[in-house]
Symmetry: C2
Subunit: 312 residues, 2 copies
């Protein structure tokens, strides 16, 4: 199917066309940029909520329970589950997505798992581009679910309007979340599995941490037990509170900041690609020889190569 | 102190000069590149062992127990403990490094903690540069200890000649390590805390995973209990086996590959810096306006900006 026909069906709300377009984006298939160009004017309406946290915190379960609450309001919900997977297996380890049977049968819900195949670096960019496609398709709410363990995951979460950090009541989690740089990007904290362990201590620890930060918005801390639906309504409420706090101005400011970051990333990526074309790689190899032979230091070689590139 | 005097003292094996140089590298202080240029010809002798794995796996304890074994052979050991820390706290959460009192009093051992301050991206580069300085200073063995949770940590670990992946006997760990892309970079597996949980099942799972991969080198799996020194000698032996497997040729090939990656990284970084100078940023803002107004798509704006940059 040609790109024009695909877009026509996409704009006619055909979910098969949507799925194909998402695959083109994920695979960086030829022509995917032009498709994104065509979708772009239709974007800007969807609200994005990032759900992040350590493995096993119960992010997927929370997403499963939150989704029906939005559905009863008539909102169309898209879920992007990002899973930075090992190239060792060649595929995703997303067995846990099987649970979403109830949601799958609802055509107001769209679920897409995204896994990296080989390179982690591109996942944040692809997730953002897929979110643009879902936005253009007409979803009201996009839930971006990611494991919060590294920079890539932080990048994905930061591409949201409201970021929910899900933790379990173990003191170690709070420390690890801090190490991963997640504390400062969270707009709402969720202590899940609050029926296990020492949930109140975890909440107290979080409150202490948060009291150290000077922020206009003090992130609410919600205790939940996803499996029994406990606190899920309150979580939804906390997300709504943050949205209200942002207001239209704050929402637009976040989106503009996100667009700036995305634009910079695109430009750097294009530049990198053009740098390592045939010519550039050949020159890299010859510089590598000289550095290997200790005629030059790595930094000297880098500076020389850049001067040569500028002259090209 | 001037750079010349600092280098003179460095080459006279003054550890205070070493510490100062490492700080210059970490802070990217003016002149640090020239110092690295001067050190570079003296590098290439040290063997690097990366020790990575999930938080709480016992990496630090293993490093503490391994180090004296190398010391009895008369080897000088440097330890770089990388800790991707939250900018929220503004400092490292490395309370656990306090345990190394025994090692600190030995002047054949040098311990350095490295934390990110704000940006994770630069940690891998800095860790590699610090390792170069330690190599030039005359350490025989460099132990690079990192939390294996994301791409940055994978990058750090990959800058080693032998990579040890430390896991605890919980099935979840194996899956998480796979997700983080750690399985394929490990040369030696270590199941630590083997007295707890189901260590034999973990070993069996690892064996099954490894049997799926086609590799010349089949990574040994060592069971350890760091706290009681159990298996630590065997871990050292497994590292030595991998080194013997690599041979001089394999060792040089790894180092050359590492140098290529470092050189590419340096070049890309310099290029990025020169791209976002005053002029580039100004143009970015004007393109952002147009994308925000939906006159252009992000990809179109990126391509236009690059064409304009090429003309500059």
């Amino acid at each position: 199917m040609g790109a024009d026909r695909l877009l026509e069906r996409f704009f006619a709300k055909d979910t098969i066309a949507l799925a194909k377009i998402i695959s083109l984006i994920e695979n960086r298939a030829p022509g995917y940029q032009e498709i994104l160009d065509a979708l772009y004017p239709k974007t800007g309406r969807a609200y994005r909520v990032g759900i992040t946290g350590p493995p096993g915190a119960g992010k997927s379960s929370l997403v499963d329970k939150l989704t029906p609450l939005y559905r009863t309001e008539g909102k169309r919900v898209a879920i992007i589950a990002c899973d930075p997977t090992s190239p060792f297996t060649g595929g995703a380890l997303l067995g846990d997505r099987i649970r979403m049977q109830d949601l799958i049968s609802d055509d107001g819900v769209y679920i897409r798992s995204m896994a990296t195949r080989g390179s982690l670096g591109g996942l944040a960019k692809s997730a953002h581009e897929v979110a643009l496609a879902l936005d253009a398709f007409g979803f009201d709410l996009i839930l971006l679910e990611t494991i919060g363990v590294g920079q890539v995951e932080v990048d994905i979460a930061q591409a949201a309007d409201t970021v929910v950090l899900v933790l379990v009541p173990q003191s170690g989690d709070v420390v690890q979340a801090m190490k991963a740089g997640l504390m400062e990007i969270a707009d709402v904290f969720c202590v899940n599995k609050a029926d296990q362990g020492e949930a109140d201590i975890a909440v107290k620890n979080l409150q202490t941490m948060l009291s150290l930060a000077m922020r206009d918005w003090v992130p609410p801390i919600v205790k939940t037990v996803a499996l029994t639906n406990q606190g899920v309504e309150q979580l939804k409420e906390a997300i709504a509170q943050h949205r209200a706090f942002l207001g239209e101005e704050g929402f637009q400011a976040r989106r503009r900041e996100r667009l700036r970051a995305f634009l910079k990333q695109l430009i750097e990526e294009e530049l990198r690609t053009s740098l390592w074309d045939g010519e550039g790689l050949k020159y890299l190899e010859s510089q590598l020889e000289r550095v290997w032979a200790k005629e030059l230091s790595p930094h000297q070689a880098a500076r020389e190569l850049l001067r040569a590139t500028a002259r090209r």
